[in-house]
């Protein structure tokens, strides 16, 4: 301890304290402050950049989710539209078929009516022609039958024979 006190130099202590304080101030002013600020700024920058990247990632995810949703919606809409179109088509086809059938039925009915009337007319015509022809045939036969006397007599006989039988 005595050696320590003996070794202690007051002048050196004063110089040391003085020089150290000056050094401390100068370093604070020209080195530590800018260095620590720069390091801090850099770290803040890195932190902010990381946060920004994280945000961007989230944003990206949101956008992807949105687009996915949009896509889903579009797909659904398309599905609905297709379905509707199919229904419309089916309905149209069914309508057309119904209408055609009705039309056809109507035509058929008309045709039937026409045929019936034509038939009736034809039958009437045939009847009148048959009557004419029968009259003409009868006329011819009568003319032929009554041309000579024998035949006339024979006829009268036949007819008288018929009457007898009755």
């Amino acid at each position: 301890m005595e050696k320590l006190i003996n070794d202690f130099s007051f002048g050196l202590f004063v110089w040391q304290t003085l020089l150290f304080l000056i050094l401390l101030y100068l370093l604070y002013r020209f080195a530590w402050k800018p260095i620590l600020n720069a390091i801090n700024d850099r770290e803040e920058g890195i932190k902010n950049a990381l946060a920004a990247a994280e945000d961007a990632k989230k944003e990206m995810q949101n956008v992807t989710a949105d687009s996915e949703k949009l896509l889903q919606e579009a797909r659904g809409e398309r599905e609905a539209m297709l379905k509707e179109a199919r229904e419309i088509r089916e309905k149209m086809v069914a309508d057309a078929r119904d209408q055609a059938k009705q039309e056809g039925d109507k035509l058929i009915a008309q045709a039937k009516a026409t045929i019936e009337s034509e038939k009736k007319a034809a039958v009437a015509e045939i009847k009148s022609q048959v009557a004419d022809l029968s009259v003409q045939i009868a006329e011819k036969i009568l003319k032929d039958q009554l041309a000579n006397k024998d035949k006339q007599l024979k006829l009268v006989d036949d007819m008288l024979g018929d009457i007898k039988l009755n």
Partner: protein
């Protein structure tokens, strides 16, 4: 690379052992005893550990017995009934007395004493000089080294600071090496011990003290024979600053903790008998903490230098082709350890200072381990 390195070491060894022979040849002539060389080495080590008034690089004795010193004389500044400034070359390395302003001064064992024109020094029974000592404000070797270290630090770190502005926040050159250390001190020393809220305030001091001690420790390992951090006045100055900063930035809780360590955990009448012992211990701890700080740094650096120089001195005592290289390798190994110690002591000083600042800035939690407080 490796073989060249080994070759260099071998060359050095041969050179050193040869020079060992030379010394022995010289020393054997006057008395021829081994004791002389031992005392010479002891004196040399003692001299080296002390501060000196001139920056001597080496000295040798010429054939005619004249001692030749190679180095730079430094200014001597004394306060003795007025300011006295003169060059230390006037002392001729303690061999002559110096005259300044009508007063005579003598240099013995690194201290300046006031003396008469003949240079008589009075000694008491224990061999201490009883002459009056003027207050010595000389620019000694240690002061010069501190100025050099300070200038180096200023240049290094202000260039690092400037490189941020120039290089968009990224350090260049030596800054790449020093920036991680700065960040380490901030993140692993200051932040955990002081706390997020107040650590910024202490950062400049912690950084300065770390690099100041480290650089001076490293300079101590150069062959220039510098021993700044192994000087009690230096470590005292550094520890005093830690002590003052600790207590002047102390919070209300810190002071309350000091005089009322148990707080509300006990009724006042229970505290009285405990506090008769506890409070003086706490108050003593105030002084003991920085005192341990100053003694630790001083003793570690001093011890390192003594061991290293003793091992180098062994080379001259062994004077053999086996012993001298052996002690060289031992000295080499110790130097490597000293490089580590240089860093370690700077770290410990910074770490403990930071810890004390942390105690002084405590605000709510009183739960810190008491063991840590007495490190």
């Amino acid at each position: 690379m490796r073989t060249i390195f080994t070759l260099k070491i071998l060359l050095l060894c041969t050179f050193l052992s040869v020079s060992g022979f030379e010394v022995s040849a010289k020393e054997e002539s006057p008395e021829g005893s081994k004791k002389d060389i031992k005392t010479e080495i002891k004196e040399y080590i003692d001299h080296h550990l002390k501060d000196s008034h001139d920056f001597s690089i080496f000295s040798y004795t010429e054939d005619n017995g004249e001692h030749v010193y190679v180095g730079i004389p430094l200014p001597v500044i004394l306060w003795d009934e007025g300011l006295k400034v003169f060059s230390s070359s006037k002392f001729h390395h303690g061999e002559t007395i110096a005259e300044a302003g009508g007063n005579y001064y003598a240099l013995e064992h690194g201290k300046i004493y006031k003396t008469d024109a003949e240079g008589n020094l009075n000694h008491d029974e224990e061999g201490h000089v009883t002459n009056a000592k003027p207050i010595d404000f000389s620019i000694t070797k240690n002061v010069v080294m501190m100025i050099i270290t300070g200038a180096l630090m200023l240049w290094l770190f202000s260039s690092l600071a400037r490189s941020y502005a120039k290089n968009n926040g990224v350090p260049t050159g030596a800054g790449r090496f020093f920036e991680p250390i700065v960040i380490y001190i901030r993140d692993d020393i200051a932040r955990p011990t002081i706390g997020e809220k107040r650590y910024r305030k202490y950062m400049p001091f912690l950084l300065t003290i770390f690099f100041f001690i480290w650089f001076l420790n490293m300079f101590g390992l150069t062959p220039l024979g510098i021993n700044v951090t192994g000087n009690i006045a230096i470590t005292f100055g550094l520890a005093l600053l830690t002590f003052l900063i600790t207590n002047f930035t102390g919070t209300k809780d810190y002071w309350k903790h000091l005089v009322d360590p148990l707080g509300d955990a006990m009724p006042w009448y229970g505290k009285i008998p405990i506090y008769i012992i506890l409070v003086p211990i706490e108050l003593l701890g105030l002084i003991i903490k920085p005192f341990a700080l100053l003694i630790r740094l001083y003793a570690n650096m001093q011890a390192g230098h003594i061991v290293l120089m003793s091992l180098i001195g062994l080379m001259f005592i062994f004077k053999s082709w086996i012993g001298s290289p052996l002690s060289f390798f031992l000295a080499f190994a110790i130097t490597l350890i000293e490089v580590l110690v240089a860093l370690l002591q700077a770290y410990i000083f910074t770490m403990l200072s930071s810890l004390y600042f942390g105690f002084a800035s405590e605000e709510h939690d009183h739960e810190e381990e008491p063991e840590l407080a007495h490190l």
